[in-house]
Amino acid sequence: MTILLFGVTKDIIGSATLSMPSSSEFGSKKSKTVKELKDYLGKMYPELKKLSSLAVAVNNSYANDDTIIDNFDEIALIPPVSGG
């Protein structure tokens, strides 16, 4: 699973992309959701949990917390940016 990082998430995680290991990392082989992924990332990178308005896209579509994801999906973490 590839996670593309935008805006401040890039600074928090320290790279432009993140490759997630296999499903065992989640402690479950069942389908995973966006919520589970967010929780997992939040544990690894506590700063991410502070982002109240973080959009998540799965395969270029906006996803909700209960959107199902698998290892072949491309995820994007998109915080709003405000600069002008």
């Binding site: 805006g7 401040v8 109240s52 405000s82 600069g83 002008g84």
Partner: protein, 378 residues
């Protein structure tokens, strides 16, 4: 209209005289004449958009020059809107320009936006972005949103004929700690140039009906990888049900000169109309003694003494907070708000500096009966 002037675009089969006429008849509001607003303004004006409105109240600063390419070294310290109008008039004398020498606030947003067909959001802070969204939803106006940070940019057309809104992507305004704000984070000079131009392009498409509008899609541009990624998102009908603006757009803790704030021009009117206006000058005692504005009759309570001297405040009346530039008074606003959320507090945007700058700008603006709005037709 001099069609010859626009021949290079009217010759385009899909554009033609018809689209040119649509541009001429259109009215576009550009909020912010900064990194995004300037390229958008220059191209819309060049291409023949007939009516352009500009909302801006900043002065030209040296740190603006690396990306706000309309301003020159000679413009430092001048009001941006004055310089912009001068250049746009020179560029295309047939454009009808309406200037709003103010920041967009919850008090003026609906009235200003109602006068235009479409809005370009070139603001630099979240409070204004959410305010523009909500006002446009209420007024059923489309807006072309651009935003930048570092080497990246975001672009989308929101609320276009029932299309998704900004809140469909980012439902709630982030707080100050989450996202670098107000230019605290850097930006590579050319990035707003790219995104601002794309905003102009989307505005032209929305006006003329040309091509496919970037609605329900968020474009993520990365300048370092040169990647353009498009994210699809859909409408949450809840977000188009907005009927009125919020009571507050996060001023105080995150006041990028919006709400909870008052412009010097507005304050001067208040001073004229009211016998007693409570102005607290939070500069140091030394600064206050060195220079103060006699017409303000301000009480000096330095910022570091504020918490211990709240008994000197008249909590029943509005409190206007003043300092040299508007920064310390903004912090004072945050402190007082936390102590007593019920207080009616206003930060005087730009502070003493703004008073002095306005005083030295001369008579042209002073003579106008409504300082916050002027019309220029050339």
């Amino acid at each position: 209209m001099d069609f010859n002037r626009y021949q290079r675009q009217t010759v385009l089969k899909d554009f033609g005289a018809e689209a040119q006429q649509k541009l001429k008849d259109a009215s576009v509001l550009v909020v912010g004449a900064g990194g995004l607003g300037i390229p958008a303004l220059l191209y819309l004006n060049a291409m023949g958009v007939g009516n352009i409105g500009i909302v801006e109240q900043d002065m030209v600063e040296i740190t603006n020059l690396q990306r706000q390419v309309l301003y020159t070294e000679g413009d430092l310290g001048r009001s941006k809107i004055e310089v912009v109008v001068e250049r746009l008039k020179a560029q295309n004398s047939s454009t009808h320009l309406t200037i709003f020498d103010t920041f967009l606030t919850r008090h003026n947003a609906l009235e200003i936006i109602a006068q235009f067909d479409i809005v370009i959001d070139g603001s630099d802070n979240f409070p204004t972005r959410y305010l523009i969204n909500d006002a446009c939803v209420i007024l059923k106006k489309p807006f072309v949103s651009g935003a930048i940070q570092g080497f990246e940019g975001q672009l989308s057309v929101f609320n276009y004929q029932g299309s998704p809104t900004y809140r469909c992507l980012f439902p709630n305004m982030p707080n100050q700690e989450e996202i670098p704000n107000c230019n605290e984070n850097g930006v590579l000079g050319v990035i707003p140039g790219i995104i601002g131009n794309l905003q102009a392009l989307e505005a032209v498409k929305a006006i003329t009906g040309l091509g496919e509008i970037l609605k329900g899609k968020l474009l993520l541009f990365n300048g370092l990888e040169h990647s353009y990624k498009t994210i699809h998102f859909s409408l949450n009908p809840q977000n188009t049900a907005i009927k009125k603006l919020l009571e507050s757009y996060g001023e105080g803790e995150d006041a990028c000169e919006i709400g909870g704030s008052i412009s010097v021009e507005e304050l001067e009117k208040t001073l004229k109309d009211q016998e007693h206006v409570q102005i607290i000058d939070v500069r140091s005692k030394k600064e206050f003694q060195h220079f103060s504005l006699p017409q303000m009759k301000a009480i000096n309570i330095p910022l570091n003494e504020l918490e211990g001297r709240t008994n000197e405040l008249d909590t029943q009346s509005p409190i206007y907070l003043l300092c040299q530039s508007g920064k310390r008074s903004n912090m004072a606003l945050g402190i007082l708000k936390e102590l007593n959320p019920k207080l009616e507090l206003y930060n005087i945007v730009g502070g003493v500096d703004r008073f002095l700058a306005l005083a030295s700008l001369g008579t042209a603006k002073k003579n106008s009966s409504d300082l916050s709005k002027g019309e220029v037709k050339s």
